[in-house]
Amino acid sequence: MGFLDIANVTKSYGAVEVLHRVDISVAEGEFLVLVGPSGCGKSTLLNMIAGLEGITSGEIAIKGRAMNGVHPSRRNIAMVFQSYALYPNMTVAQNITFGLEMHGVPKAEREAAMTRVAAMLQIDKLLDRKPGQLSGGQRQRVAMGRALVRNPDVFLFDEPLSNLDAKLRVDMRTEIKKLHQSLRTTIVYVTHDQIEAMTLSTRIAVMNKGYVQQLGTPKEIYDTPANVFVATFMGSPAMNILPARVVMQDGAPHAAVIDAAGQTRHLRFSQPGMADWAGREILLGIRPEAITDPEGADRKSGNIQHLSNTVVVTEPAGADTFVTMTLSGRDVVGRMRADVAITPGQSFGFAINMDKAVAFDPATEARIAP
């Protein structure tokens, strides 16, 4: 029994089911991020928690109280919208206190709450302005202020940073994280940006096509993705997925891949259990940061496999250089140190950290190992 319980919840529009049996239990003070591509049902789920959309079947409970059919204003939640949804006809101060006024809070108390929140968000100089006179970042703060002032049980964020420019987005992301660390309020946060999901959350629910693909801590999601979708959706650049055959060599399972010259190369698995798959095809998943130049390889790894292959493209990105090679007919990206000397078209010795490799069943795309 958690603080916010989503139990067996489905959502249908007519005959079309858009959310399938979602089960998530959120503990008090947790920061849950719902992440997924457009149309995966994450915003629908958030709106159902808010009470803005009905629940077709199942139950949503906050603090053990079933919320099905309860009006949004009686759920003691607050929501920050993607467009901020500030009332254009009211000043910042009126925007922040509108909810309190609707709940019949006396004026003096409203003023006190507003002053406290405005100071916390550093918007105390903007209180007499209208939303139209504010910048994007300021509007974002006011929208959070409006949510904070209510002292809700659960905060709901619907892609709050997607309307901001890149730099401001990073700043506000940090602000939100700080806010959560100081307030320790339960947060459910929807985004399609996997970096926001990784940096902010204590737990992530990766969603696709109305299913929760995986629910776990950022580390679990990143290191042991449940399937190919989660593996490729989380992380940038995406995890390399390439077909491979499991072969036994010197009594240990190896992944047989084909290099640019058409030669079969063997990469030893760190998991002895992969021997069960000997002779069968799998999908091998390797994150770009597990493919490095030999000097940049992880010294703590017990299983660095070396592989020389032709370099297709190099992409210097400042801090790192991304290097593309061809393995088993797929483009495979590695992340090198910035100053590594690599020329496209030439052969280069790659170091592959097989401790971090993930194997998937090609039929179900589910993870086999680790």
Binding site: S73, A85, G99
Partner: protein, 293 residues
């Protein structure tokens, strides 16, 4: 506005510009001519009109025709002037405009923000009422007013105009609110505002332009209406348009053209006033929502 049009206008030669201005001036004079004729003849003694040139300025200036038209002219059988009918029209037009505008706003709010099964069909049917000719509803409406006990009264006229105007006002507000962000309504719901509070605190304060458009539209239509006014009013509830007709059409005695002109201007003044006061919002409101920003 002018800065923009100057900046984007195609630059023309001096000769072309003079030509354009002369042409425009001629047309402006042509269209102003009836008003000028009415004005100068309404401040002349009748003898000057019947004895001579309609276009000449008055030799003797007088406001007697205006006073007569307002308070002593023979309307039908009573020498009351247009005043009581002017008051009838005001008593009819103010509530009719207010009620139809408010109901149109509520309809638009419900049709866009509280969608329900069949709402588009309902809106289609309401739109249909914009295309029903006045003549078709005359007899059923007369029967209905009779049943309601409102036949021949000002409230009856108000009712007729509200019903007839609802299609238009709903159309205006629905289209305006369709572009209104639904997230604002949701935010207000979470803040704890109910159906009417969202309407009065969030939507109505942001509806200025469309309210102006609707009010002008309804005001001119209802004020200028003659058919409903002559069909459904009694002796004591006739609106200004019907009274003006009775003044001008009276078949006995000498035709007092100067009084008729003054009366006609009196009848047109309120709509003129509404246009001048809020006309600039009219265009702005019609354009609202067509361009973002």
């Amino acid at each position: 506005m002018s800065a923009v049009s100057q900046g984007t206008a195609v630059s023309t030669g001096r000769f072309t510009r003079v030509l354009i201005h002369v042409t425009l001036l001629v047309f402006a004079l042509f269209y102003l001519l009836p008003l000028v004729v009415m004005l100068i003849n309404s401040v002349k003694p009748l003898g000057e009109i019947t004895g001579g040139n309609m276009m000449a300025l008055p030799k003797v200036w007088t406001i007697q025709p205006w006073l007569e038209a307002w308070s002593t002219a023979q309307i039908g059988v009573q020498p009351t002037g247009l005043r009581p009918y002017f008051i009838n029209s005001i008593e009819m037009v103010v509530p009719a405009v207010a009620i139809s505008t408010l109901m149109g706003a509520l309809n638009g709010y419900v049709l866009t923000k509280w969608r329900f099964r069949g709402d588009t069909v309902l809106f289609g049917l309401m739109l249909f009422s914009c295309f029903i000719p006045f003549q078709i509803v005359l007899i059923p409406m007369a029967r209905l007013l009779g049943l309601m006990g409102l036949a021949g009264t000002v409230p009856g006229l108000i009712f007729v105009h509200v019903v007839y105007g609802l299609g238009f006002t709903t159309l205006y507000f629905r289209n305006y609110y369709a572009a209104f962000p639904t997230e604002l309504v949701r935010a207000a719901q979470i803040d704890g505002a109910g159906f009417f509070r969202i309407f009065t605190r969030i939507l109505l304060p942001l509806s200025g332009p469309i309210i102006v458009v609707t009010v002008i539209w309804q005001f001119t239509n209802i004020w200028n209406d003659f058919l409903f006014g002559s069909s459904f009013s009694g002796q004591a509830s006739q609106p200004m348009t019907v009274a003006l007709n009775n003044l001008v059409q009276s078949s006995t005695g000498v035709k007092a053209y100067n009084v008729h002109f003054a009366g006609a201007i009196l009848a047109a003044l309120p709509t003129l006033f509404v246009y001048i006061v809020s006309g600039r919002f009219f265009v702005r409101g019609l354009m609202a929502g067509s361009v973002k920003g």
